[in-house]
């Protein structure tokens, strides 16, 4: 596969390179069957795919959160900033600038929104004033959070928690963010805003992103490169633009067939065959 061929010649401008990893849960369930991908320095890479394809697993493998779920990377390498990171602990990775926003929010329920955000700055050493400034920045991004800053996160609404989780990651001033389904449960307007934030951070501060996203439409609009996963393998990859033009992607992920957008009311109920699996 040409994607793999490209991986091997990891250039200096690559911030993250995942090489042919295999992940096994509970010692018996093989979930990732050789996944390779690269994120260029300062790039936004989208990881797309159906439910259960293994997107979350891939991100967790990178951030080393798999152990806590009894998953193991049994094969392959992960290189972040020219350093093998499979054996590092998650906090080492955060210190090196790579942070993950977990799927399903995972806010600290008993901490207030503000305390949640401050835990994001745990690894920072640059002083209270800088943290404070960033706190203001997050509040500016998500005014709703400012309103609810004193509430315990466990009581806030789903969307508020999602904002909190993203804000918390931003607080660590990362150089790379692994975003797992950032748009889940957010109002449409906010989805756009989140991606605007991604773009802004990417352009202004050079933060790289690897995002797993179901909202292919938006994701491919903002990403520079995309990978498509199916049951534990990468089945298609390419520049975002090229993917947007791909007929299959168009039909299955963007919902625009030959005759433009279809109504959800009129979808026919039959299983369609994906051409790349043939």
């Amino acid at each position: 596969m040409d994607a793999n061929a490209r991986q091997t010649e990891t250039s200096a401008s690559t911030i993250l390179a995942v090489n042919n990893i295999e992940v096994i849960y509970n010692h018996v369930i093989l979930v990732l069957k050789g996944v390779s991908l690269t994120v260029p320095e300062g790039g936004i890479v989208a990881l797309l795919g159906a439910n259960g394809a293994g997107k979350t697993t891939t991100l967790k493998a990178v951030s080393n959160l798999l152990q806590a779920e009894r998953g193991d990377v049994t094969k392959g390498t992960i290189v972040f900033k020219d350093e093998r990171v499979e054996a590092l602990s998650p906090n080492d990775l955060v210190r090196r600038g790579c942070i993950q926003v977990m799927e399903g929010r995972h806010c600290f329920g008993h901490l207030t929104i503000e305390e949640n955000l401050l835990t994001g700055a745990y690894t920072r050493k640059d002083g209270g004033a800088a943290v404070k400034a960033d706190l203001e920045m997050v509040y500016d991004y998500f005014p709703r959070l400012r309103e609810r800053r004193g509430s315990q996160a466990g009581y806030t609404s789903g969307g508020e928690q999602q904002m909190c989780a993203i804000g918390r990651a931003l607080m660590s001033r990362p150089s790379m963010i692994l975003l797992d389904e950032p748009s889940m449960g957010l109002a449409p307007q906010l989805v756009e805003e989140i991606f605007e934030i991604v773009k802004e951070l990417n352009e202004k501060e050079g933060v790289s992103f690897l995002l797993a996203e179901q909202n292919t439409n938006v994701a491919l609009r903002y990403a520079t490169y995309g990978y498509i996963m199916e049951s534990g393998r990468i089945v298609l990859d390419g520049a975002a633009k090229a993917l947007r033009e791909n007929e299959d992607v168009k039909e299955f992920y963007l919902g625009v067939g030959g005759e433009g957008r279809k109504s959800f009311r009129n979808v026919k109920h039959y299983k369609r065959r994906k051409r790349w699996l043939a």
């Binding site: 096994i24 509970n26 010692h27 018996v28």
Partner: protein, 358 residues
């Protein structure tokens, strides 16, 4: 290879809902039962009386606790006391109605334990999780105190202990000091097997599902029409019933006599360890856990000196304790969900064999 259900088709839901839908499992359990039946032929009196009988009884108690903690999610540290209620009720019943069959008394004594369980289960409606431990601890210590203080319970014996009188079942002596290990073993085996079967049925039916709903997500359960009061109290009742029967059996078929200290918090913890090590929410796990916590230390205590390792008795004891502690941690690390899950993973491995993964 050998452990695969390929080719075993189920054509009715009834067939699909058997306890052991896979033929190999059915064969396995059959073999185990036959071995259990044949055990007295080879086992010494010591093995029967000091290992097999208490193991079975404690496994039953563990099942009782598992109903409450493993299936209904209500942490209980009062198992010992509920077992005590069963034992003392049984003693009273046997002395008040000596002509009634002792097995009937054993089964009835659970009812009293169930009543106690319901009373102490009431706070569970408001109090959850670790906090619930305090009500069950209150039950533990209060009941333990009652066992000492209410002399009526032990017929005003000066010793404060209850002694098991000899009773017959179909002409063979099954309780009391003169009852042989073999007859006691068979009675215990029968009760434990039958009760396990009934509980298995209960667990996979509507009531069992209600318990698990409460355990997994009580709010969602309630919104789906489960009345927390009914579900929790029924779990307390059934669990205490089983523990009560186990308690009665513990005294009548194993100890032969008991003072209140037998039903102390130590027993509660012992049973809790069995439940957790075996795997919460698993009936086979209860047997595994009981075996691990009961049999292993005995084997070590008896086995180490027998191997010719020359150390003092208390050192054997202490080393056994350390090893058990270390093994508990080791097993949790290998598989936090207990021996039952380890067993399940083993079976899954066997199933996909010769491939390493599914």
């Amino acid at each position: 290879m050998f452990y695969r259900e390929a080719g075993q088709y189920k054509t009715t839901y009834a067939a699909d809902q058997q306890i052991f839908p896979i033929r190999q499992d059915r064969i396995g359990i059959g073999v185990i039962l036959v071995l259990a039946l044949l055990l007295p032929l080879v086992a010494s009196e010591f093995m029967l009386s000091a290992i097999a009988i208490p193991f079975l009884i404690l496994a039953l108690a563990t099942i009782g606790l598992n109903i409450l903690t493993g299936y209904a999610g209500q942490l209980s540290l009062g198992t010992g006391a509920f077992m005590g209620v069963g034992a003392y009720s049984c003693y009273k019943l046997v002395t008040i109605f000596p002509e009634v069959n002792v097995i009937v008394h054993i089964l009835l004594s659970g009812v009293f334990a169930a009543a106690a369980g319901v009373v102490f289960g009431l706070p569970s409606l408001r109090i959850k999780g670790l906090y619930l431990a305090v009500t069950t601890l209150a039950a533990q210590f209060f009941l333990e105190w009652c066992f000492i203080r209410i002399s009526w319970l032990y017929n005003y014996n000066a010793s404060g202990a209850i002694e098991v009188p000899g009773r017959e079942f179909f002409g063979t002596l099954v309780t009391g000091p003169a009852a042989g290990g073999i007859s006691r073993y068979y009675v215990v085996l029968a009760i434990v097997v039958v009760m396990t079967l009934l509980i298995k049925n209960l667990i996979r039916g509507r009531i069992g599902r209600q318990w698990m709903m409460i355990r997994d997500m009580d709010i969602a359960a309630e919104l789906m029409g489960v009345r927390p009061l009914v579900a929790k109290l029924s779990a307390f009742a059934v669990s205490s019933y089983v523990c009560g029967v186990a308690g009665a059996m513990f005294v009548f078929f194993y100890l032969g006599a008991a003072e209140p200290a037998v039903f102390s918090i130590t027993l509660s913890f012992q049973v809790l360890f069995m439940a957790i090590i075996g795997g919460l929410g698993s009936l086979v796990g209860s047997f595994f856990g009981a075996a691990f916590i009961w049999i292993l230390p005995i084997l070590m205590r008896v086995g180490l000196p027998a191997l010719g390792v020359d150390i003092a008795a208390e050192t054997v004891f202490q080393v056994a304790q350390m090893v058990i502690g270390a093994l508990i941690i080791f097993f949790l690390i290998v598989e936090p969900h207990g021996l039952a899950r380890l067993w399940a993973i083993g079976k899954e491995k066997l199933r996909v064999w010769p491939f390493p993964y599914a």
